[in-house]
């Protein structure tokens, strides 16, 4: 009974917040409606699946991520600073058709997939079991892919910035004081 109530509140909350993303007229509200949707999902994962680590992590990461995203969204928006109301959707009919179709397909999947019956009691550490089930023997591959992605991000930033690594201490890295872009930071 309690589980059902939590599930209903989280499910309705997540879907309602998801709809709100496209109904509100400001970038900031849309961002936080999306965040609310993710938080409802996180709470459900935390309380219903007993995956406390993942549930709390979803909330933690989504808050940080959405805040960083809000900055970028507003930065790249068509109207300056995004302080004036604006529509969140383009191509209304097409977008509505696509989203309804996707939602229906995913919801149908819930009912049509023959889910396995839960036999044994839940494991003592569900997070660890989930990790093993997802990654299993591919752990090494996943770790390597993670490193490659990280290296790609660092490389992209290095290529995009106008300052190279030798701007700070000179070509032979022998400049006594760093020529820092920000004065009085770590350099001078």
């Amino acid at each position: 009974m309690g589980e059902m109530v939590v599930f209903m509140v989280c499910a309705v909350g997540a879907v309602a917040a998801g709809i709100a993303v496209f109904r509100v007229d400001s970038m900031a509200r849309a961002t936080f409606a999306l965040l609310a949707s993710f938080v409802f999902t996180g709470v459900a994962v935390l309380l219903l699946l007993d995956l406390s680590y993942l549930g709390v992590l979803i909330i933690l990461m989504m808050v940080m991520e959405m805040l960083v995203m809000a900055v970028f969204m507003i930065m790249y928006m068509m109207n300056p600073a995004g302080l004036t109301p604006m529509a969140m959707v383009h191509n209304r009919r097409g977008a509505l058709a696509v989203s309804v179709a996707v939602f229906t397909a995913l919801a149908a999947g819930i009912w049509l997939v023959p889910w396995p019956e839960a036999g044994a009691a839940p494991p003592p550490d569900p997070t660890e079991s989930l990790g093993a089930a997802l990654m299993g023997s591919h752990m090494l591959v996943m770790v390597v892919v993670g490193m490659v992605l990280f290296a790609t991000m660092v490389a992209a930033v290095v290529l995009a910035t106008d300052r190279g690594r030798y701007d700070r201490y000179g070509d032979d890295l022998r400049r006594g004081a760093a020529d820092a872009p920000v004065r009085k930071g770590v350099g001078r």
Binding site: A28, R29, F32, V56, L60, V63, M64, A180, V182, G185
Partner: protein, 309 residues
């Protein structure tokens, strides 16, 4: 760790509020002393200020997003109160979660959303500046802060706050991992946008996030700030200062005394140090704090492997 009955969820926030009042009173006392006034007047100052704000008129500018601003302001004390639920007082805790450290971290990150919402929603250039300043500051302090938390968890081999306290029976983590402790204290100042890291509400931007807040809104934001500072101080005790361990006195009293001491140090630091510019602090955060916390985590991992901790 013993989980308290339901009344603990009421008692913990009340205790946090008492600590927060103490911090506000000490800050007022230090200010009064520096201004040459009678310092004892500082003790009642937070109460008087709260009464003034309670009866004050609330004002707003046209175009303000009241819903977002109000949510942001309210989220500050809520986040602090939720964060403190996993902090033990002696041997008692409201919720002894298996991922207590991550919970604390998640609740404290809500401050990001809170400060940004409060600044954005005011529809004022000063609020917006304060909000963006806090995000830049957050990107600089959050990673070192997370590594400081993780280092304590690595030292105990557990994310449960109770286990971290138990692992400090022989030697406090403040002695084993001093760098992590120092970075934790610095980030405690940052998450309460306090002291040298108070750029979000800086005087140079007319109060920043708090510029357009008045009456009850201003009261809630300021109270939330002190609550957050108190919550961060309280968490420093189980993470780095051995929890309730100490001679003669009962463990809950030791927890309280240590928390009060950390809080007093943070308030005093804020009184002594000037505000640091965000762009300078961002560079310090990424170039100095992040590498040193990583090295600290590496060192502690080696200690754990060698079974020195």
């Amino acid at each position: 760790m013993v989980e308290t009955p339901v009344w603990g969820a009421v008692a913990a926030p009340l205790l946090l509020a008492v600590l927060a009042y103490g911090a506000a009173a000490l800050a007022a006392l230090l200010r009064a002393h520096a201004a040459g006034a009678a310092p004892t007047a500082g003790l009642a100052a937070p109460g008087r200020e709260a009464a003034r704000l309670l009866v004050g008129q609330r004002r707003s500018v046209p175009g303000a997003d009241t819903l977002l601003r109000q949510s942001g302001v309210a989220l500050v004390p809520v986040a602090a109160t939720m964060a403190v639920l996993v902090v033990p007082l002696g041997g008692r805790v409201v919720g002894d979660l298996s991922v207590g450290v991550v919970w604390f971290n998640a609740m404290e990150v809500l401050i990001w959303a809170a400060v940004w919402l409060a600044g954005w929603g005011a529809d004022s250039v000063w609020g917006l500046l304060g909000a963006y300043r806090f995000l830049a500051l957050g990107l600089a302090y959050e990673l070192p802060h997370m590594f400081a938390l993780i280092t304590a968890a690595v030292g105990a081999g557990s994310l449960r706050v109770g286990d971290i306290v138990a692992a400090q029976q022989d030697v406090w983590f403040a002695a084993v991992m001093p760098v992590a402790f120092a970075v934790y204290l610095l980030s405690a100042l940052a998450m309460a946008f306090w002291g040298p890291l108070d750029q979000a509400v800086g005087r140079d931007v007319a109060g920043g996030v708090a510029a357009e807040l008045s009456g009850v809104d201003a009261l809630v934001l300021r109270t939330g700030r002190y609550l957050m500072l108190a919550a961060a101080s309280a968490m420093a005790v189980p993470l780095f200062l051995g929890g309730g361990a100490g001679p003669l006195l009962p463990d809950w009293l030791w927890s309280l005394l240590k928390t009060a001491a950390v809080l007093a140090v943070l308030v005093w630091l804020a009184h002594r140090l000037p505000t640091v510019r965000v762009d300078r602090f961002v560079e310090v955060g990424w170039v100095v704090l992040l590498p040193v916390t990583l090295l600290q985590a590496l060192a502690v991992s080696v200690f754990v492997l060698l079974e020195w901790v």
